[in-house]
Chain length 410, copies 2
């Protein structure tokens, strides 16, 4: 067994170490929930003050043109495209991840009207399944949702499948699905694929066009650091854009929104998947967050994220005892940006760690997740968090009754 | 003919005059586009700085509980409910007005499965028709959209109609529809009604429950002063909440979103019409805007809005010549919060007024609209704007070629 890497040396050689200063410092806190809500970039503070005061306050309705609010969904979409292997004009920011999945799922089912199956996996982030249920219930007919465990997905890909919908990285285990292989397998039977990049955009390498991906959705408030509830994004490969139509055919997706005609005419390109007026203040915060990932560059981000995960896993090792079980892939090539463990006392352990300045999160009934955001975190912090986890578990510090009082967890 | 009222006396007796100071002053500008984008409240500046710095920056993901972000859609919804004659628990803030209309239109059609007609009027705000087209296309079957002029709506209400969808105030003419009468007529044939309150909430009296209304949607960025692209809201009468299901069945509308189960179970109450994670920063700005309307109170707001419109119309009178035609109802009881005129040179007139410090807006091909937001505007400002309109038209000041260069208008 090789010795775990030395985190101080890793920080010394980290090409992204300078970008840590671009985030508001968390005094004494090691924040490992960037997979749930990314940290506040320093620049966002000033950017938001300006958006409120100068753009809204002084430009008022003229801001749609003078500050190009109208172009924001495309501008931020293009910046995200550069992080996920898409081309400019293939990504737009709009609505929420959930709503975007509804749009694409309906469009995909309508593009394959003779196929009645939407295929997905059970136990991944639940809103995706809820939205698919809603899309199927709305389109009606004898369509149905079929759920198969990851290892059975390929066998379930038949000519009945209209669309396969998968999370690229599992929200709980961080298991990374093989986008290239599964997309190819779906295409072989004539099915489309929608990838949910919520837990992969801005943290692992995503190569949508390299994988010949059809469609994708993703989240702005996790690794893209766009702020609480930041709008979602969606990708439609250029080759599909002309033939797919959004069920949420709002004026922002109209070919000429400001002619105010009664008939809907979808805009060319990905713009047709916009719907209503976008929340500009939240979009501006997202733009500032995405700018940091764009500055860092996707390859450097993915390399550091993987190294942080490897360090965390190696540093915990078997020092905490058998009750702590790694449920994330140990192989960095198969893992997303967080590391998850199972333990019967996971809730209390997460509380004990919070009391020690390490913020991770808990997922019922016995999972703890540690998000290792590559931009704001140092290797030293991640090593320290691993050591504290080991200490809390090995010494049963979590047995303190104060750590067992359940609060509402979001 | 009675003399027009004296605006200085009106300001003296205006019970809302103090609330004008709650908006950031527009130096030398008379802003008459509050029907498009409301002005920035003073308190919003500090509230947003705090939301960014303290709530997101320091509380991070804990903000969902510690700052009750999770409760925001309901809290702001309840505040809006008080402005539109709804009860607490009947209004939620979510998504955009467009997306909300889709949800309610689909739910209404599914509640009346044997009826195939969605009835609306042509030429009103177009995204509503686009969304209805999308909802019908998605639900399929032999459903169809039937458009009838306002005076023909009642005759078109047959037992084929599943749902009537109308804007309460027309976006262009400001004509106010009779909510009580049309709702009653629809109910008489067993149809449901969805009201779009985008141009009425926060400016005219809206009495949803007094009119026995079924459902409504509305906009946060106009008279509610919620900021550019502020989220929309929706109303579902308590008696309908248990039987209607949203097609956009996202996790925020789940009965237990944080148990992360695979099956969708709609939340009780209006919460089931929430979808994905809401844009918190934009929602916080909306909360600050709505608070001002709530403080002013709906009756005082409606009374002042009507008086401002009456003043503007009386002050313009026939002083500008025949080419300027009032297309809004002269009767304040039949009019929303803006006043619209038609003129062949409307575009240039709007530009000439902007050069003179009066910001109104232009709608193709020949309409100009003047939004008379009752909270930030004084009677003196509105009188001054009317005088400048008269002057620009009567002296043909708009003939300056500089005013005829078309820029993109949003």
């Amino acid at each position: 067994m090789t010795a775990p890497p030395d985190p101080l040396l890793q920080d010394l050689h980290d090409p992204l170490t300078r970008i840590r200063d671009a985030f508001v410092a968390q005094d004494g806190l090691i924040y490992l929930c960037g997979n749930s809500l990314g940290q506040l970039p320093v620049a966002t503070r000033g950017r938001m003050a300006d958006a409120v005061e100068a753009e809204w306050g002084r430009s008022l309705v003229r801001g749609w043109n003078s500050h190009d609010w109208i172009g924001l969904p495309h501008r931020v979409g293009d910046a995200i495209a550069g992080l996920v292997g898409a081309a400019p004009g293939e990504v737009i920011v709009a609505d929420s991840t959930s709503a975007n999945l509804f749009k694409l799922a309906v469009a995909a089912m309508q593009a394959r009207p003779d196929r009645k199956v939407v295929l997905s996996e059970p136990g991944d982030f639940p809103t995706d399944l809820y939205m698919l249920e809603g899309a199927i219930r709305t389109l009606g007919g004898d369509r149905r949702l079929v759920l198969r465990a990851p290892e059975e997905i390929e066998a379930a890909l038949t000519e009945e499948v209209a669309v396969l919908v998968l999370c690229h990285v599992h929200y709980k285990t961080a298991a990374l699905r093989d986008m290239a292989r599964l997309t190819k397998a779906a295409h072989a039977v004539g099915a489309l694929v929608i990838w949910d990049l919520s837990h992969s955009a801005g943290v692992v390498e995503v190569d949508l066009n390299g994988c010949d991906a059809d469609m994708a959705v993703g989240c702005g408030y996790k690794y893209l650091n766009g702020g609480p509830g930041a709008p979602g994004f969606l990708f439609v490969a250029a080759r599909h854009q002309a033939s797919l139509v959004s069920p949420l055919s709002g004026w922002m997706g109209h070919a000429a929104p400001f002619t105010f005609v009664d008939d809907y005419q979808p805009a060319p390109g990905v713009a047709r998947f916009a719907c209503g007026t976008p929340p500009i203040l939240s979009l501006i915060a997202l733009e500032a967050g995405v700018a940091l990932s764009a500055a860092a560059g996707a390859p450097a981000i993915a390399a550091k994220a993987r190294a942080l995960g490897d360090l965390f896993i190696a540093r915990v090792g078997d020092r905490a005892g058998d009750a702590l079980t790694l449920i994330s892939p140990a192989d960095g090539a198969a893992r997303g940006g967080h590391v998850a463990f199972r333990h019967p006392d996971a809730y209390a352990i997460v509380q004990a760690l919070i009391a020690r300045g390490v913020v991770g999160d808990f997922r019922d009934p016995d999972v703890m997740r540690f998000g290792l955001s590559p931009l704001p975190l140092s290797f030293a912090e991640v090593a320290r968090a691993a050591d504290l986890l080991v200490e809390v578990v090995a010494t049963r510090a979590y047995d303190d009754p104060a750590y067992k009082v359940r609060a509402k967890v979001t």
